[in-house]
Symmetry: C2
Subunit: 179 residues, 2 copies
């Protein structure tokens, strides 16, 4: 049902933009403080023109060593990565880097709330996959370097989407982690 | 006693570098997962040369809208800013931006652990100032746009410094917030 993409979040917005909007909503409602981390950049050359702002003239994108989002909700630490896929039947694991998985391991050990949000582009369905489940799929991948959508439906948790916020993942966090 | 700067952390390292080292130590010991956020950059122009990495050709530094460090310790959310001053008798409040103070307000409301670490360059003393205390000084500054060192000694908490980690702020966090 590709029409779902018109109803929800399908305003030509990226999944990350929809999550940023949700985080803004949570912040405004004093529900949680969760931000996207800036993209890590390796700066090589900076010019300092007189009487104006420093200009970065040469820099490169660095691979993120952690997940993209973190913050605080009801005193608990929240940490997650968000990924959208155009694949209809599975989530390709090359979307997640090893160092991100390893970061998730360390967060889980510290008793942080850690997960992956997956949006299937064509249906606009969003699932929350708890980090220990994701890590288990990641560590046990063999030839098939992906998680079947059926498995995400079984082991993941559907996230309510709508308006204000677009992606209400904290409702799912409440059910799963806070109670 | 300027010699303290030779004994502790005074290896020509910036305060941020010393904190990064401490965070690496905590991570390695599986004590906490705390990272410095990347510097926020406004990217204006990117070149995509054939067969090599994308090159950022024009970009500008953006002012940070949050604090520099955050992460998880014993399940709790940790959030702080670190500043060093060469001032001997006070900490100038222009070192902290209004939006950083406002970010701290939101974190405190969410029951996160939030504070400022101050290092006095000439003595290499490090103090932890709890966010509510900092906010109170910030909101009540009049002509004097600084916090007297004597007040930091009274209302702040001295942080143990040494080796491995250089700045053992989690020991102070334990005493103040965890118990
Ligand atoms: Mg990412
Ligand atoms: Mg800073």
């Amino acid at each position: 049902k590709p029409n779902a993409s018109i109803a929800y979040g399908g305003r030509g917005m990226s999944f990350e933009a929809d999550i940023d909007e949700s985080n803004q909503f949570y912040l405004m409602k004093e529900k949680a403080v969760i931000h996207k981390k800036p993209t890590p950049i390796q700066i090589v050359q900076v010019d300092y023109p007189k009487r104006s702002a420093a200009v970065i003239k040469e820099a490169y994108f660095k691979q993120a060593s952690t997940t993209d989002y973190n913050g605080v909700y009801k005193g608990r630490y929240i940490d997650f990565e968000a990924k959208e896929t155009k694949n209809k039947t599975s989530f390709p694991l090359q979307n997640i880097h090893l160092h991100q998985v390893n970061h998730m391991r360390t967060v889980v050990r510290q008793n942080g709330i850690c997960f992956l949000l997956i949006r299937f582009f064509y249906t606009q369905e969003v699932y929350l996959l708890d980090a220990p489940t994701l890590i288990s799929f990641y560590d046990n991948q063999k030839e098939r370097k992906s998680i079947k959508k059926a498995d995400i439906e079984t082991y993941g948790h559907m996230v309510h989407t709508g308006y204000q916020p677009f992606v209400d993942y904290l409702r799912t966090v409440d059910e799963l982690y806070i109670k």
